[in-house]
Amino acid sequence: MSEGLRNMWAIARRELGGYFNSPVAYVFIVIFLLLNGFFTFSLGYYFERGQASLAEPFFSWHPWLYLFLVPAVGMRLWAEERRSGTLELLLTMPIAPWQAIVGKFLASWLFLGIALVLTFPIVITTSFLGDPDNGAVVSGYLGSFLLAGAYLGVTELMSAITRNQIIAFIISVVVCFFLILCGWEPVTQFLVNHLPDSVVNLVKGLSTWYHFLAFQRGVIDLRDLLYFGSVIGFSLFATSVVLRGVRGA
């Protein structure tokens, strides 16, 4: 294993251990699964629809669910290191800062992935009751995972900006909320009446909501992959810039 990978792995493992050694992981997973069930079966009218599809009743709630749950997972990433002074310890280790940034990101993303995988009973249920499009199920899960990654990137960046986890949480929720809103149909409908189409499309193109839609329908488009990849990449790069400022000040 190369040195960079080994360092990232050491950081990621410590971070994952932090989740599972405390009640955080278990509380999060239980709440995530309960809310998923509630949205799918009560608000999503899973049974009443009579369709063997997860797009509308299941995946379409994820942008809202992640809006609060992902910042809750990621808010401590850097804020806690800054508050407790361990940032000094971490960044005087013989590692490149990006290894710490990516390692932390991967740990939290993996954790969110584990929570997401634990929703598998809904897939079994749907397969039992009907004949769902398996491709759409897979692309829906992939899209959901990427969506969580994009929110997590934003949260990691906000967490580096402040030493207060609560502030990191609130700002992350607000930013992620805007990322949903600018592609959410009620908002785009409103914009269409007031702005030229090109501007509306640009705004829509920035939205996680808009790019997640295709995945729900079973379409994996390179542009959507690129979108989520660049949100994550940009957030992590911005995190490194912020951390450089934190060290200098």
């Binding site: 050694n21 000094e88 005087t92 280790m93």
Partner: protein
């Protein structure tokens, strides 16, 4: 091992480190002294590569800290000021993590863990989580982290802060022992620590080095350094003063009665001849057949020196 050249660090308009230069060789223990806010921690943060300098150059084992940070950091063990550690980890888990970050694995990791556990007396708390530990143990846990890769350079920011006297003693012993083979810089504001384990000390004030030398050289800067005290029985103070004033090396002489005894204090005419002065005074006492039970030369006191050169109105060298 460590060279610091013309280091400057500004925070906005405030100059925290103002043109500091020093060098630490292997086998040296450098004490870093100074009032709070003098720039000790900032200097250490720059040397360890946590903070970039505004200007100046730091090299560790020949590696420039800003150009080749990873190679430089590999040689350094660092104990930050507040001795931070991850509260949700156990001591063993935390040290294992530090070992992995330092590239240790397998048997090397295990033996490193065992070594630092013994060195820092952590055997009984290894499987406790850090947030249940007392301050002394937390401090030693972080110290153990800095020693895990047996580094050639150690930077310790107030290593004995918050420890009880026994623990302080242990840590000082440890520093002195390790100082034989490593280059160590540690900051403190406990002056006796400097005498106990430093081979050299630097005093900084307002971001500048105000003095640099061995503890003995530093102490010699005290005004009382070199003066001789004599305690005589059954002689008149005026006589004592008169006789002692005739000594060639003597400067100002004072004598005070204390019951049947007389305390005499003789300052040297010129600094740095304390030994001669004491023997000259002993000769006088013998010649006059005085009965004396105390005769010693003041070495000077570090805290006097410290106060003298870091006082706001003092003239800075």
């Amino acid at each position: 091992m460590i060279t610091v050249e013309n280091l400057v660090k500004r925070f906005g308009a405030k100059c925290a480190v103002d043109n500091i230069s020093f060098e630490v060789k292997r086998g040296e223990v450098l004490g870093f002294l100074g009032p709070n806010g003098a720039g000790k921690s900032t200097t250490m943060r720059i040397v360890t590569g946590f903070m970039p300098a505004t200007s100046g150059r730091v090299t560790i084992g020949g590696h420039d800290v800003s150009e080749n940070p990873i190679a430089a950091k590999k040689l350094v063990g660092y104990l930050p000021e507040s001795a931070p550690s991850y509260p949700d980890m156990t001591v063993a888990g935390f040290l294992a993590w530090a070992a992995e970050m330092r590239g240790l694995s397998g048997a090397a990791k295990q033996s490193a863990l065992q070594r630092v556990t013994e060195l820092c007396f952590l055997q009984n708390v290894l499987h406790q989580s850090v947030d249940t530990l007392s301050k002394g143990f937390r401090h030693r846990t972080c110290l153990a982290q800095s020693l895990i890769h047996d580094p050639e350079v150690l930077i310790l920011d107030e290593p004995t802060d918050g420890l009880d006297p026994n623990q302080k003693h242990e840590i000082r012993q440890l520093i002195r022992r390790m100082g034989e083979t490593k280059a160590i810089v540690f900051s403190t504001h406990i002056l006796e620590e400097v005498e106990a384990c430093c081979s050299r000390a630097i005093i900084i004030d307002r971001g500048r080095v105000v003095t640099d030398g061995t503890p003995a050289q530093l102490k010699a800067k005290d005004d009382t350094a070199g003066s001789v005290t004599l305690r005589v029985h059954g002689v008149d103070p005026a006589t004592v003063q008169a006789k002692l004033s005739q000594v060639v090396e003597a400067g100002r002489v004072t004598a005070q009665a204390d019951g049947a005894r007389v305390w005499a204090r003789v300052e040297p005419r010129a600094k740095g001849q304390g030994g001669d002065l004491a023997s000259a005074i002993a000769d006088v006492a013998h010649r006059e057949h005085w009965r004396f039970d105390e005769l010693h030369t003041e070495e000077g006191r570090l805290d006097n020196v410290f106060r003298k050169i870091t006082r706001p109105d003092s003239v800075r060298s």
